[in-house]
């Protein structure tokens, strides 16, 4: 039972990540490879505020969101200059820089040892210390994120983002300040990813840089590519699929020593397969070309 609850909590966390990344990838057409960096920023800022300053989770989380939004400008501004492949490299370098900072600023972030002893979230003396209660908190936060993303993406704002994805020059020629829209998309996406980070820190109570690597960014992107981008269903379908799939593999009796490798192989094969048979993902509407 605990195992199922754990999976559901992870599905909530990754739904938040994939929904927010979809705003950039599926709506704006920016193949961003640094989402785990914002996830990490959220986790570390919340964890540091809680452990070093003794701040409550529910105060630390909004602060981490704001900081992540501000740091997202570091990728947003270069993205206005660099298009296509060059943008992918820009995002990639941001991912690597953030990882290096987390890994090497040992005095501040604990370096490779990470931050242990992060308190569980509590509100008015009520502590989310059991799995069902934490699941409740995760579901509430994930639903809130779903609601926010739904409203934003179905609004005229979301429509402009899609137009930018389809044709940036034509969008400019209609009088839309494309740069401004891209920057807002980055800030919203980065800010929401930080919520997932804070939630993860409060759940696991211990974080280290290995949770926020390039592999993690690729995994979040793979969720969107498999599930589908450009609408709100795709990321959810992708998250459920990609979280449950490796768990099913566990029951196949593959020895533990090779299980992680087999998992990577299956992810890779799955991505190649999707590119052949269904480029827009299981439930998506936008194809990468």
């Amino acid at each position: 039972m605990n195992y199922v609850l754990h999976l559901l909590i992870m599905i909530c966390i990754y739904s938040i990540l994939s929904l927010s990344l979809n705003l950039l990838v599926g709506y704006t057409g920016l193949l961003s490879l640094c989402h785990a960096a914002f996830y990490g920023i959220g986790a570390y800022v919340s964890a540091l505020l809680m452990t070093k300053l003794g701040l409550n989770f529910f105060l630390a989380l909004p602060v981490s969101v704001i900081i992540s939004m501000l740091l997202s400008l570091l990728v947003a501004y270069p993205s206005l200059r660099f298009k296509g492949d060059y943008f992918i490299l820009t995002a990639l370098s941001f991912q690597i820089i953030i990882f290096s900072v987390l890994h090497n600023c040992a005095g501040f972030t604990g370096g490779p040892y990470g931050i242990p002893g992060i308190p569980k979230p509590h509100l008015f003396g009520f502590e989310f210390n059991s799995l069902p209660l934490f699941l409740l908190l995760s579901v509430i936060l994930a639903s809130l994120v779903f609601f926010v993303i739904y409203r934003i993406s179905s609004s005229p704002f979301g429509r402009v983002l899609k137009a930018i994805r389809e044709d940036e020059l034509a969008t400019l020629a209609l009088g839309k300040k494309v740069a401004g829209f891209k920057i807002q998309a980055f800030m919203i996406s980065g800010g929401i990813a930080a919520i997932a980070g804070g939630l993860y820190a409060g759940y696991i109570t211990y974080i280290d840089p290995t949770s926020f690597t390039l592999d993690e960014s690729i995994f979040i992107l793979a969720i969107i590519l498999v599930g589908g981008s450009g609408n709100i269903k795709g990321p959810i379908v992708g998250t459920v699929f990609m979280i449950i799939l490796p768990e099913i593999l566990k029951f196949l009796g593959i020895p533990d020593t090779i299980a992680p490798n087999v998992r990577q192989m299956i992810y890779g094969a799955l991505l190649v397969l999707m590119m052949f048979i269904r480029q827009q993902g299981i439930a998506g509407e936008y194809k990468f070309e």
């Binding site: 409203r151 429509r159 899609k162 020059l169 034509a170 020629a173 209609l174 009088g175 936008y286």
Partner: protein
Amino acid sequence: MNISLSKQNNKKEKQLDTTSKDSRKSCILELKDVTKRFDGLIAVENASLVFSKGKITGLIGPNGAGKTTLFNLITGFLKPDTGTICFNNYTIDGLPPWRIAQLGIGKLFQDVRIFHKLTVLENVLLARKEQPGEKPFISLFRRRRAIDVEKMNIDEARNWIKFVELGEREDSLAEDLSYGQQKLLVIARLLAGGFEVLLLDEPTAGVNPRMIKSVLDVIKRMAQAGKTLVVIEHNMSVIAEISDWVYFMDDGKVITFGKPQEILEDPEVRKAYLGV
């Protein structure tokens, strides 16, 4: 110099919006001695053109004459090396493309540039200027306002879709339309944007003959509605049929201009264009 002028302009934008309604001056868009070079190649050289309100001006010339470059200079996608571009008596060269579009100059791209994965209605809606819902904060927290304006915009967009006779295709994806219909869609998009000046780059190219008539009808009706149109066109019968005034360009220079009949019979034009 130009840039400082346009910066002053920025401050005067509000003024400009109000004065433009009162000013009934016939000249709405004017280019003075505009030159643009690309690495030694002169694309446009000392071009001076004037476009009048409510008129259709044809822009003709062989390939590479600098016609499309001229459009890109007007819309801000390129910046002129020298010369000035005035719109409603304000200098607009040096302003970014989105700003020039907001001021009221719209362009039909040669390669239509529709938003493929969006519906016909969404394509047209995007052109509407006043959209509070384009601010994420408003669409999250002040939805009432966003929804009210969106309803008005949808009505307006539907009218323009009907105007170009695409009413039945409103919910189709733009990519599912025929090429001719896509041109009509882009025209509806320009109309919904409320642009005062419309620059049409080969509106009938690649459109089947039956559809050309619809496109030309729409163009004429736009001029009657008081819009200023500039049309780049290779089809001489189209130019003869719709334009009030014609500029002939070759090698980046304006060679001659005048009424369409005069220009089309000009021996120099015939030589450069038709090789006769």
